[in-house]
């Protein structure tokens, strides 16, 4: 192996990449676009649920209760139903996803101290939103009934008195809510067990804070799948491979030369993603940036080697692209725990995730970003990623030699 020949390959690849500025631009645009989509456009936080209200009581008390929902940022009231059939229409057409129905005797029950029952219907199509919505509804109702208990008359007369402090109720703060519940004087003399909830690592429970770190893994996987998987197949398809074979360059030199060029692009992408995450989206990076870059480099090495291996094995760009999507991109997106937590998957699929390198990388990223973990907590993952990269790299080398002879 000669350094000079590797350098020549790197130069050749760089010229080829620079000659195709459109592909290069897309390689840098991709992470920026994904970051912006995940940072700005989408959130897994549930807000502004379209709600229809069927107020059969039509009293000041029921209106006050509805106001609780209107003022919280979780619900947006899109309409009022006049009869039961209206609710069906709203939910069937998807105009509303939550329906709250207040019984005729709502204010009467409240004043006489009897139990009142509100009926809630949620569109369960999206089960996750539905579960969270139900949680908010019970929390808001619970708070309301607690306030009524405490001061039924005042609250009856002046709907907004003395509640500026807690307006907008559990604004993403089931936490605050429970603590409030705990500090409020026990109104009922029954033995009440309350829960005090604390959240670590991501106390505001922002989905962005766990999505953005994991996204780096997905971006790496895309770069590896989309760029390197085509590089060697392309040489075969265009017939330039024969020219390369006739040069004294050896297979490992060619592979290292190609790897290195794309490695640089990949690392620039990591750096860009990290900076955008920190400065534009305020995602805290608690751990060491150096460790982050080093481990990203390690993962990138394995990912790019896999891309090369696919390219060597398929010799066709169309097939290489399909294979690398299945082998690299989809696992990084779905089976890495980036968005969908692995513990919720069925057992056989959980076992599959153990052979997905992105799984270990996502664990590392989240730990470095949110927990500030140092290398000593990540030894296991580091070792596994190194083994993976080494094995894939060696296999690519072996496969390639065979074909060239």
């Amino acid at each position: 192996m000669k350094l000079m020949r590797i350098k020549a390959i790197v130069k050749k690849e760089s010229i080829q990449i620079l000659r195709d500025p459109l592909s290069l631009a897309m390689a840098f645009l991709m992470p920026v676009m994904l970051l912006f989509i995940f940072g700005y456009a989408i959130t897994m936080d549930v807000d502004n649920l379209s709600t229809v209200v069927y107020d059969r009581d039509k009293s000041s008390m029921s209106r006050e209760f509805i106001a609780e929902f209107r003022e919280s940022r979780y619900f947006t009231i899109v309409g009022y139903a006049e009869k039961q059939a209206d609710i069906d229409r709203y939910i069937d057409s998807g105009t509303a996803r939550v329906a709250i129905s207040i019984p005729e005797d709502f204010s009467k029950s409240m004043k006489t101290g009897r139990n009142a029952e509100i009926q809630v219907a949620v569109d369960g199509s999206d089960s996750n939103t539905a579960t969270i919505a139900l949680g908010y509804i019970s929390a808001i109702s619970e708070l309301y009934s607690q306030r009524i208990k405490k001061n039924p008359v005042a609250s009856f007369n002046s709907p907004h008195s003395g509640r500026e402090g807690e307006a907008g109720v559990p604004a993403k703060r089931v936490v605050a809510l429970h603590e409030e519940g705990a500090t409020q004087a026990p109104l009922i003399a029954a033995p009440i067990v309350t829960s005090r909830v604390r959240v670590w690592y991501n106390p505001e429970l922002k989905s962005r804070n766990f999505i953005v770190p994991g996204l780096i893994a997905v971006i790496m996987a895309i770069i590896a799948a989309l760029l390197t998987s085509l590089t060697i197949a392309r040489e075969w398809e265009r017939g330039t491979m024969e020219q390369l074979i006739s040069t004294p360059v050896k297979p490992p030199e060619l592979i290292i030369g190609k790897l290195f060029t794309y490695f640089v692009i990949g690392l620039i992408d990591v750096l860009m993603s990290t900076l955008i995450g920190i400065y534009l989206f305020d995602v805290p990076l608690k751990g060491s940036p150096l460790l982050l870059m080093m481990l990203s480099g390690l993962f990138l090495f394995g990912g790019l080697s896999l891309g090369i291996l696919i390219s060597v094995a398929t010799k066709s760009q169309l097939i290489a692209s399909q294979v690398s999507i299945i082998a690299s991109y989809l696992p990084a997106l779905l089976l890495s725990g980036f968005m969908f937590s692995i513990s919720n998957m069925p057992a056989p699929l959980q076992i599959v995730t153990y052979i997905i390198p992105a799984r270990y990388f996502v664990t590392m990223l989240k730990a470095i970003y949110l927990k500030g973990s140092a290398l000593n907590l990540l030894v296991f993952e580091t070792v596994l990623l190194s083994i993976f990269g080494f094995l894939v790299f060696m296999t690519a080398n072996r496969k390639f030699k065979k074909r060239i002879e």
Partner: protein, 370 residues
């Protein structure tokens, strides 16, 4: 004209399947993807790993712990004895939640005093944490209610929430996701095949040969897109059959309507594939162009993230996304049994979008041929 198109379609099929490895790619990979997606894309929260730090070690604290265990939402992995252990377990990610009862928990309950249970969550995955919290809270509230004496409860005002979930009463996210997965897989395979195959022909130089034949541009475009439309339909059937039988989902609505809507959907998808092929010179560009469209199209379609939670400007942007309309249609047909009377706005929008994209792409394609 019909004869020439037929010949061309036959030629295209030969070309696609000449490489034997294309067969598994077209027929097997969608099924693998469906199954992986179907299982992985679940936002249901259960089996939250939990550690218990029971300082009270009483009958009452054990009763509460048993409630957590029996709920099915939490899985108790470990009992710890020191606060340092709690930190280590959370740091290493071994557990996502820690339940802690304090000294005097049972004594307080017996005396009728208010007492407190602590639950600590790893908020890294905010969504899971949020859902798990509401479960934990419900379990503790239920436990507290089971302790309360009836005499006192009678005087307290209580607001009961009676909740019902429609369409998907067990709140299983799989029912909701599988139809969506079908839609995105059809999109991915059709986009990639169309854009890359056309560019490949140009790269290799066989496009010139086609141009010297008596084929008219329109015939060439039809001949190029019809095979992919056929593959799209075929994959749609395949994946629907597997999805329905494997995940035991029932299709509530009309199959005929589903076929019709798939046709309208494929119009947009193939149009976009054709468009990408006209702006790419190499297969690499086609592949990246496909992703540059595919990734935002999936993320901004409402498949995993509700559109109503997005910023308003982005919400307007989603009106240009064919997947957005098709998702409403396919979910409507699968889960709600909707008919044309409800789905016509989406069908109309998808049709307009499809014909527009197709026309623009065809014009560009024609220009590039000339």
């Amino acid at each position: 004209m019909l004869e020439r198109i037929k010949r061309m379609v036959v030629k295209e099929f030969h070309q696609i399947f000449r490489d034997r490895r294309m067969r598994p790619i077209i027929f097997v990979t969608p099924i693998i993807q469906l199954i992986v997606f179907g299982y992985a894309v679940t936002t249901d929260v259960n089996n939250v790993s939990m550690a218990v730090y029971d300082l009270d070690k009483s009958y009452e604290s054990r009763a509460l712990i048993r409630r957590f265990e029996a709920s099915g939402y939490f899985r108790i992995l470990r009992y710890v004895n020191a606060p340092e252990e709690v930190r280590l377990l959370l740091d290493k990610g071994k557990v996502l939640a820690v339940l802690q009862t304090n000294h005097g928990f049972s004594a307080d309950i017996k005396k009728g005093k208010q007492t407190e249970v602590q639950v600590l969550f790893d908020g890294t995955d905010s969504n899971t944490a949020l859902v798990a919290m509401s479960y934990a809270n419900a379990i503790i509230t239920q436990y507290a209610r089971s302790l309360g004496s009836p005499k006192i409860n009678a005087t307290a005002i209580k607001l009961d929430v009676r909740a019902r979930a429609w369409y998907n009463p067990d709140l299983r996210s799989r029912n909701y996701n599988v139809p969506g997965v079908i839609a995105i897989m059809i999109m991915l395979i059709c986009l990639l095949l169309t854009s890359m195959a056309i560019v490949r022909e140009r790269e290799i130089g066989t496009m010139e040969q086609l141009m010297v034949t008596p084929l008219k541009p329109l015939e060439l475009i039809l001949g190029k897109t019809i095979p992919f439309a056929v593959i799209g339909f075929f994959d749609m059937f395949l994946v629907t059959i597997v999805g329905v039988s494997w995940f035991s989902i029932t299709i509530q609505g009309s199959l005929l309507l589903l076929v019709l809507c798939t046709g309208i959907y494929l119009l947009s998808v193939l149009g976009i594939g054709l468009f990408i092929s006209t702006v790419s010179r190499t297969q690499q560009q086609a592949l990246m162009g496909t992703f540059l469209f595919f990734a935002p199209a999936v993320l901004l379609s409402g498949l995993m993230f509700p559109i109503e939670n997005m910023p308003v400007a982005v919400q307007y942007g989603t009106y240009l996304n064919p997947l957005r309309y098709f998702l409403v249609i396919i979910r409507g047909i699968f889960l709600k049994g909707n008919g044309v009377n409800i789905l016509w706005p989406q069908m109309l929008a998808l049709f307009i979008l499809g014909t527009t994209v197709m026309t623009i792409s065809a014009l560009r394609f024609k220009k590039r041929l000339g």
